[in-house]
Amino acid sequence: MRRFAALYDALDRTASTSAKRDAMAAYFADAPAEDAAWAVYVLGGGKLKRTATSTELRTALAAETGYADWLIDDSYAHVGDLAETIALMLPRREADGTDTPLHVWMEARLPSLARLESTERVETLRDWWRALPAAQVFLVNKLLTGSLRVGVSQRLVVQAIAQWTSLPTDLIAHRLSGTWKPSADAFRALAEPERADEHAGERPYPFFLASPLEHEVDTLGAVSDWLAEWKWDGIRAQLMRRGDEVILWSRGEERLDGRFPELETAARTLPDGCVIDGEILAWSLDEAHPLLFAALQKRIGKLKPGPKLLADTPVRLMAYDLLELDGKDLREAPLRERRTRLAALLDGHTTTFMLSPEVPAHAWADLAAIRAESRERRTEGLMLKRLDSPYRVGRKRGDWWKWKVDPYTIDAVLLYAQPGHGRRSGLFTDYTFGVWDGEALVPVAKAYSGLDDDEIGRLDRWIRANTIDRFGPVRSVQPTHVFELAFEAIQASGRHKAGVAVRFPRILRWRTDLAIRDADKLDDLRRLASG
């Protein structure tokens, strides 16, 4: 653990991406494989099944420090990270000097808490804390409570491994895709030379992700070089048909086994050795448009959907791309060719699989006009893909663009605020906004992003000075400030007090030119939701 703690420190002590990559590459070259495997796992965002609750951690902290619960809560609200709050509050004492390797923590110690009674867990935590130096108290608590968040992306971990092994990053990304299980062997396998059967097995291909189109569309060149498709609002997924197996992977590279049986059944009729990239949509066969995303959400949550849910909310796969056919990796072939073969594969096939329709156009202006219909078609806009592009790894700009419709916007009043987490800890950055329902302001959206640091600082000071009431860490403030919010979709919701729920709300700007009476009305939102 000492060596991993030193790596963590090195990563935490620089804002430079290349310095972080160098530090990881040096660690991978040097650390024991059984520990380095877990470092790959946790630095890439992996976490263990949680084995102690926040309440147990707080109970242990209260017992260890003698501080009252309210003082621990106040401190936590200020720090924004429970693992760190604990490390900062515990009495400082000399650590006992023994070093428990990272893999022992991850494979034995932390999982062992699950087998204990709650009171024993609290005692075990206290014993661990007493034996560890403060920096490792923090790390052990982090590993116990969630991901590390040390400014390292999965992609940067991949680059560091590529640097250490001198292998291509795309190959490393593929080797780590899917549910990579950390072990000394798995770690050593990352460094092996490229094999011919590299793509076999259950691992998905890393997804190619489009970037938002931020410049004028006609700068993309000839429209005939591009494929335009609708941008569907579902779950991006990879369907693999290999050997006897059908495996469905989400974009987060989690297996969706059992959740979408109609897709798995239909996939049995596909030839062995094929992989399709597509979008899962809730869509009844007799409807012209897919159901709203909220319908699909009911399916995502169900491990084993019952007959009624399957009947009410059937799903289909909108197929975008063909990554593998007859067991051969097609990703280097141009999109034009992959799509032709995808069309042939799905031709005459069950309607559960649909070929993503091409949106035909002779000029960019045609597409701009068609894009305006996106909402009526229950889509988020258009996708533009270069017809001669390969299927790349990750988010690479240039070949695939998402050209979304402009978001909805409303003007809403700041009602509540609570402190943020991570780099926003200690500042009031999580806001709740409301609109007018008659003479009352009702909350309709929470938003965290969109203000710059200067605005966040000013608003934080204002919130502190204008608090009316407190509910734990949440403060209600004098309704004063109006903000323009953007969101992607709005629908009726029985679970929200206002009766509507908005999707992906964020702050566009602080409307210092508006008074609260200028804010929007709930009726306007209801109209949007029903429209």
Partner: protein, 339 residues
């Protein structure tokens, strides 16, 4: 009535029995100023009473024409119906607590203070009193300062690592107090020259004239054009971060010396590579200890929220309350200023 001695007003904290203000934010007739930081010492008042040790710094801040009366620590003087004396607060050079005796009672306004050793100023002196006004900049138990020797050790290691990589190390810290404290601590460990941003030069000279021993320093502006600062340590005020001035330190590693650096998120938010926990304010144990040392029957808490400190003290049997309970007074500082 405590408000005979201490009455918050729009201009600042007022003493009715003595007819003077402490650290007024607006021009007044008579001011007692605890220390020379900008949010405490403001120009424009007719007459200032300050501690002798900080008089030169006060002159710098208040201007050549200001009328300043300076007193040694512990020296008694009379204002109105009160007898005053100034006592070291350990915050920065010349910083003082104000002891006010009048109407049969003793009140002490601590100003900003710390309990950790600091080679640049006289240490905090616990002053027995009936009423104690304490700051609470770092009023949560997560704030506990590491020993300065550890921090300086880390700082030296960072400087050495930067030198090895052939890049400058730029450390941001407050120009008055923090910079000189770091330069004085460094004097026991290195004889290398440290480079200074222009805003610090005069203040460092003031400290030298007051007899504070520090490492050799040179102004960045006095060095030859195009000088390479690889491997050098440069001190600059936080306002210089991101300013064009930084361009000459390309690829520099940046650090920030502040009590706020105790919390990781606060450092990451500011985008510095390194945070060094150095504060001229009392940490949580320092606040509790000072309240108990002075033996006051009533504690008033200033600055920011302070609510956790008040509640904690009350649970421990102290009569603690917010200074706001005596009257409204603007808070001179923003949420995270002062460190």
């Amino acid at each position: 009535m405590d408000s005979d001695l201490l009455l918050p007003r729009p201009e600042g904290l007022y003493c009715p029995a003595g007819d003077f203000y402490i650290d007024p934010m607006l021009p007044v007739a008579r001011a007692v100023v605890t220390h020379a930081h900008g949010d405490h010492a403001r120009a424009g008042s007719a007459l200032y009473h300050v501690a002798s040790a900080g008089a030169a710094l006060m002159r710098e801040r208040l201007g050549a024409t200001a009328t300043i009366r300076a007193y040694d620590y512990g020296e008694r003087f009379t204002l109105g119906e009160t007898v005053l004396s100034l006592h070291p607060s350990g915050h920065v050079l010349g910083a003082a607590q104000v002891r006010i005796e009048g109407r049969g009672k003793v009140a002490v306004v601590s100003g900003d203070y710390k309990r950790d050793p600091d080679p640049t100023c006289a240490p905090f002196e616990p002053v027995p009193c009936d009423v104690f006004v304490t700051e609470s900049t770092f009023g949560l138990p997560i704030y506990r300062w590491p020993p300065m020797s550890e921090v300086i050790h880390d700082l030296m290691a960072w400087w050495a690592a930067c030198a090895e990589r052939g890049i400058p190390a730029v450390l941001f810290c407050y120009a008055l107090g923090k910079a000189q404290r770091i330069l004085a601590e460094l004097a026991t460990r290195t004889d290398r020259t440290v480079y200074l941003h222009g805003a610090m030069v005069r203040l460092v000279e003031d400290y030298r004239e007051a007899g504070v021993r520090m490492v050799m320093t040179e102004a960045v502006s006095e060095t030859a054009r195009g000088r390479d600062f690889a491997g050098e340590l440069i001190l600059a005020p936080p306002s210089a971060a991101g300013a064009p001035w930084m361009k000459r330190f390309s690829k520099a590693s940046t650090g920030f010396a502040s009590g706020w650096m105790q919390v990781r998120g606060a450092r990451r938010r500011r985008g510095y590579d390194r945070g060094f926990i150095v504060s001229d304010h009392a940490d949580w144990p320092g606040l509790i200890r000072s309240v108990e040392d002075c033996g006051a029957k009533r504690i008033y808490v200033t600055h920011g929220d302070g609510e956790a400190l008040i509640r904690y003290l009350r649970e421990r049997g102290h009569d603690a309350r917010s200074l706001r309970s005596l009257g409204a007074m603007p808070d001179a500082r923003a949420s995270e200023e002062g460190d």
